[in-house]
Symmetry: C2
DNA sequence: CGAATGTCTATAGAAATAGTAGAGTTACAC
DNA sequence: GTGTAACTCTACTATTTCTATAGACATTCG
């Protein structure tokens, strides 16, 4: 299970991706639109900002914007920032590798081998799907309606 | 990340799968061999027993045995018992479905759609891999040695 | 009988999760 | 240049989950 926080983060990003590229969106607006506790969302967006995913403008007329195009922001990237390692075992993590002190020899670990496959499969999806992909269905539905 | 408990459970099962089919293995032996805290392992095995994965014999010469053949026990099945749902979102869980109260309409949920793919990929691996598969490399190595 | 083994329930410390609170900083509008 | 609306940052807290540990109990074998 991913955390609630990660879900909030992803949803907040879809809102930013949906907004005009140079129109900052206020935290309150995102919170209201996605039913996210505002104060909690503040922390999340700040975190995403520190990791170079979004930028903010302070003061009146302030708000948040995507720092890079939505089609370059992957789900995997965001999950790593918010929830930490993607891998199901510490000894399979790319970003936070840690030896399992209870297994002797990773090559021999019967469990590790199986979860390596899980990790691969998961990463394949998470890093090939972007925020733009997430909002795409909505847009194509819109296009369909307009063309009708 | 899977829990330590699940890792212990899977490792304990590989020990049972490795043992003779009618020779109960004592908790202490499993614990020692896999460096699992004994009292913790007791709980885990009991849990697996209650879920019909293993059986036990009490008293002297007691211990645990697999209830069904190792090639019929999947990783997914064990993870569900020990760690709960496989799905990354409650609204994607097969065994513990729960509506997300903050998203309106699952068909529209942009996040859900992506994680459905993750869940599929994960399940594909976890339910097609068994305890027998996990110990297989070891056995084939053994075969290789014997044939050399 | 008695010792070895599993059974069961309770407890507890540590960490993670999901927020909440509030004082501080910045920038635009006037 | 002041006020106010926004983001910033740190700290705090309640709840749950994880990782065990403890100990009394039940069962079986010799």
């Amino acid at each position: 299970m991913i955390t609630q926080k990660a879900k909030y983060a992803l949803r907040a990003l879809t809102v930013l991706a949906d907004a005009d590229a140079d129109e900052p969106v206020m935290i309150s607006d995102i919170a209201a639109q996605q039913k996210i506790p505002k104060k909690f969302l503040e922390q999340i967006l700040l975190d995403l900002k520190h990791h170079g995913v979004v930028v903010s403008r302070r003061g009146k007329q302030g708000g948040y914007l995507l720092l890079k195009p939505a089609h370059t922001i992957t789900f995997g990237e965001i999950l790593r920032i918010i929830d930490g390692p993607i891998a199901p075992l510490p000894c399979l993590s790319i970003t936070a590798y840690r030896r399992c002190d209870d297994c002797d020899g990773e090559q021999n670990c019967q469990i590790r081998h199986v979860f390596a496959k899980v990790a691969d499969a998961t990463r394949k999806v998470l890093f090939s799907t972007t925020i733009a992909d997430a909002i795409a269905p909505k847009h194509s539905a819109e296009v369909t309606r307009l063309l009708a």
